[in-house]
Symmetry: C2
Subunit: 608 residues, 2 copies
């Protein structure tokens, strides 16, 4: 009951089914709702590029600018490609559904597995980066980053269990504040740089360390792969077309272009200025924090940038809390994961999906020490697998459906599929040893699990089906009351047994003939005329002789069942259970997997 009160406090009262409703979003609200995931990645994407390049010395950091341009081109291609998806799936085309439709179940499951992993990582990476924004501003908190991250995930999980909705109202303020603040910082920073007002960069920490790498092709590819985290989240708009106001598809396409343009601008701006302001990756302070500190010279505006960065990262983590349970719902509906993910809880949300997501993300934060950089190599692989599968599906779609302009649309999706496919291979190859192997290994394992679950559900359905059901002969039910003594509890069980059968038997396992004699005496007086079967037990085992007797009864025929009634008195306090032999539990345990046996506890409630 205390548990119930706790749940009420954190999760709130149940909400009736009738209150389920669907909000439709204007373009401006939709941008706020769907952009947070994609835009928040500019908080760490540049840093991830620099982190690889710095291995070849501070001099190599300038290469971040051409790499940034390459990634911007990639964003433009992916956005154009997803615009075609929106056209084809105006109800919303998540990678799992689109791929399953076009490339078959197996490919769909691969996309599903990649997405599930991706959602968990979105939460972990975004929260880790959000806490990094906080600890950059307040270095004293750096030591507590793991627990701050876990606390943050716990808060988001609780909010979602209460039924936080993706409402435009909630998202609009932080998202637009983020866009405006970052745009302001970039413009001001650019102006300072143009007019040479630049704050002098701190002395470059260049030490030509031994084992310093040269700028190899592999290093460039790795830097590029790291920067590709900037693309995570751009698919959100096409997943959520159904939430737009009509004309849904048209509005969604427009918002997607806005999103792409803002993303490229912010990402390129940060990459450009980070280089010119001499920001280099450091453990205790993020690149964005260094940039903001140098552009604004500390002060209130600096803290504002850190605050909105943290806020949008938390919003990004929050989007996974709708995406993951929704995907889990689809997978559960199709019978690939346990059914429990397909039912809504008290507050109309998919509580199981939310809890699992929160738990796994918190686990990742703890395992990876709350370090964004350690998590990044795992992150982008799943995203690009789902990009590639989703775009390839669209190629297949256009080839099959055709329609207006199908040729160039198909070509565009083909370009998208090819480019994202190549990037996926680059990411998997360059980051394999840094953690990507884990995802590469996990996806086939998840797919195998999906298939196993699916086969089990099919097996069960077939075994339970009433198809061709042939009514068996009526049941011959023998009712036994297992007794150790004759007291009020047993009397209650005997009376209950008589209420369900005219031919009840008492069964007693004899451990001590003297006790049997006393029981038989009582039985004559209070036994309600029920016959008493006494079984001998040479090894003092209660169960052995009883199981033998049971086998004998069940051997009478396939239509024979045995109901075993166990009188059980229920103590009024928990610790009192320890003072009584748990015979009922023992008997139930021994009979759990017996066919044609039903065990019935008849409780007798003690008052003290």
């Amino acid at each position: 009951m205390k548990l119930h009160a706790l749940k009420l406090f954190f999760v709130g009262r149940p909400i009736p089914t009738a209150q389920a409703r669907h909000e439709r979003l204007t373009k401006r609200s939709a941008l706020a709702v769907f952009a947070s995931d994609a835009l928040s990645s500019v908080a760490y994407a540049t840093e991830e590029i620099l982190l690889v390049l710095v291995l070849a010395g501070v001099g190599a950091l300038v290469v971040s600018i051409p790499i940034g341009i390459a990634i911007s081109v990639l964003i433009a291609i992916v956005v154009s490609s997803y615009r075609q998806t929106i056209r084809a799936y105006p109800q919303g085309g998540g990678a799992y559904i689109v791929t399953k439709d076009n490339l078959g179940t197996m490919a769909g499951l691969i996309a599903g597995a990649a997405l599930l992993i991706d959602y968990v990582l979105t939460v972990a990476v975004s929260v880790a980066a959000g806490i990094a924004a906080l600890t950059s501003a307040f270095p004293a908190l750096f030591a507590y980053r793991i627990w701050l991250g876990v606390l943050c995930i716990a808060a988001i999980t609780t909010a979602n269990l209460r039924g936080l909705r993706e409402s435009g109202r909630l998202f609009a303020a932080p998202t637009y504040l983020f866009i405006v603040s970052f745009a302001g910082m970039l413009v001001y920073g650019f102006v300072r740089w143009m007019f040479g007002w630049e704050t002098p960069a701190p002395p470059a920490p260049e030490v030509v360390a031994e084992g310093m790498q040269s700028v190899s092709v592999f290093l460039l590819l790795r830097a590029f792969a790291s920067g590709c985290t900037a693309l995570t989240g751009v698919e959100a708009v096409s997943d959520g077309v159904g939430a737009f106001k009509p004309n849904e598809a048209r509005n969604a396409r427009i918002v997607l272009v806005w999103l792409g343009a803002i993303l490229i601008t912010l990402f390129m701006g940060i990459t450009f200025l980070a280089h010119h302001y001499g920001a280099v990756p450091r453990v205790e302070e993020t690149v964005v924090s260094q940039l903001a500190r140098r552009v604004f010279g500390g002060g209130l505006l600096y803290y504002e940038i850190q605050a909105v960065t943290m806020l949008i990262l938390i919003l990004a983590a929050n989007t996974s809390f709708s995406d993951f349970p929704r995907l889990a719902f689809f997978l559960a509906r199709d019978g690939f994961i346990p059914r429990q993910f397909g039912t809504r809880g008290d507050r109309l949300v998919f509580s199981n999906g939310i809890l699992i997501l929160g738990g796994l993300a918190a686990l990742l934060i703890v395992i990876f020490g709350g370090d964004t950089h350690a998590l990044i190599p795992l992150y982008a692989v799943g995203v690009f697998i789902s990009f590639t599968l989703s775009q390839s599906s669209m190629v297949r779609h256009w080839l099959r459906v055709r329609g207006v302009g199908w040729g160039w649309r198909c070509a565009l999706n083909g370009l998208g599929a090819t480019v994202t496919g190549v990037v996926m291979i680059v990411i998997a190859a360059t980051k394999f040893t840094h953690g990507a192997w884990l995802v590469v290994l996990l996806i086939p394992l998840l797919v195998a699990a999906f298939m196993t679950v699916h086969r089990h559900y099919a097996d069960v359905a077939q075994q339970l089906s009433m198809e061709g059901y042939d009514p068996p002969p009526p049941i011959q039910n023998t009712v036994l009351v297992l007794v150790g003594d004759l007291h009020k509890g047993v009397e209650a069980a005997l009376r209950y047994a008589q209420s369900i059968s005219p031919s009840v038997k008492g069964v007693y396992v004899e451990l001590d003939p003297e006790k049997t004699r006393r029981l038989e005496e009582k039985w004559g007086k209070w036994g309600l005329g029920i016959p008493l079967v006494v079984l001998n037990s040479p090894y003092r085992s209660l169960l052995g002789p009883f199981l033998d007797y049971l086998d004998h009864l069940l051997a009478l025929g396939e239509n024979h069942m045995v109901t075993i009634i166990i009188p059980e008195f229920i103590p009024s306090r928990w610790w009192q259970h320890l003072l009584h032999n748990q015979t009922a539990l023992l008997v139930k345990g021994a009979l759990l997997f017996r066919e044609r046996v039903v065990v019935v506890d008849v409780p007798f409630h003690l008052k003290r």
Copy 2:
């Protein structure tokens, strides 16, 4: 099933009740069986005295000899006192029974609590001292002493679960070997000392350390208290009079005198020679080991002494494994501890008592780091409480019963009670801060627990008693089958329900009207003519509407009962349970404490 095989391997096959037998012991065998506990204490008693005296410098160690003499006198008094107990209780007079008989239940329970603690400590102290004998001979093992101790306890526990008996055969060889070896060492050591062949003692490690204590009365009393551990176990003979060959009491009295004489000889011999051979307490080597090394100059005889010391200490630990379960049996029979301690297991032994004893002793070994000295302060208090209570009971006994020579017997027991009572206070006072407080605190707590358990059993017996039983009106049993769908599993439950009641109802909680329609269609076809009650659930809760309906049925009258049948399909593999909603569990959990409600699972076994 694997668990069962494991048990079979370690514990062996069940033994039939008919094989229970009682061995009668000759005086020689009896000495072997009952002496190990008392004699083994010479392995550490001298060392404990020296350990206190050394606080006042090596010069103070000579005081060990008068202290040893005082303890020898104490042994003589206690032995004489217990000879009177044997006369009065020729069937065996354990402190619990004797005290309960003569001084009442409360005093008996205090003795019982003291004894239970004492038995646990006997195991822990003896095993720790036995391992110390081993690591003195092989110093490389010193680092593993905790785990060696735990392993040793596990082995003794297993042997006792198999039904190791206190057979004269098992005990005779090690006990007599111990007596002969130690006697040999003492004689040879005495001769060497007499003739001045003495091995030069190593340089005395005398450093007049700061904070060195002076030889105060308190220190002398503490040293005396520490040495009193030599007395632990002398009561064993009087507890086991019933095991002697006739004339039991006479034989037991003779054996007790032998035991006392041997104990005093060995203890005084070791104390005397330890001083003259310059043995001082050290962490890594016991005093007995130092003495043996110097007397024999190392070599085979030294290792033989260490081996028999370890062996007798393990035998001493082993005696607690019969004493503790036997006392627990008496306490359980009288309803002061859980009944489970009153039943014999497969192998005719009191398995629960053996397991608890082994577990607690192992815990003590781990907590106290396997260090004999750390455990000693806890040890002697309980022993002397039971001595005092037992001797006081005898005074009361003689006053009541009288008989031949009751006057001087009473005086002797009175002397015993007074002396042991004073020693008890000395021990509790001088060792209070070193750990004795724990025992002083634990005894009243245990007594309170005994009383609580006793009251509960009395309450239950009264509530269950058929005394004045007034048969209530016949039961009106409503049988409900809780359904979520209609498949073969539900069909089996419906057919079962019909076999126990002519008026069954199906109950369905509606979450989705569309599903209700489909169910009703199936129900018309396969529902066996059973009416279907559909309950509305605005909050998607399965339980809420059902509990309301249940309340309504139970409100019909005190003689109304409701049987709730839950169709449950049992998957063939454990992991498949995770793939199904645990509705049955949920419903059972919610109804567990409902009166007049019986929940019945009707299992349907899936084959794959």
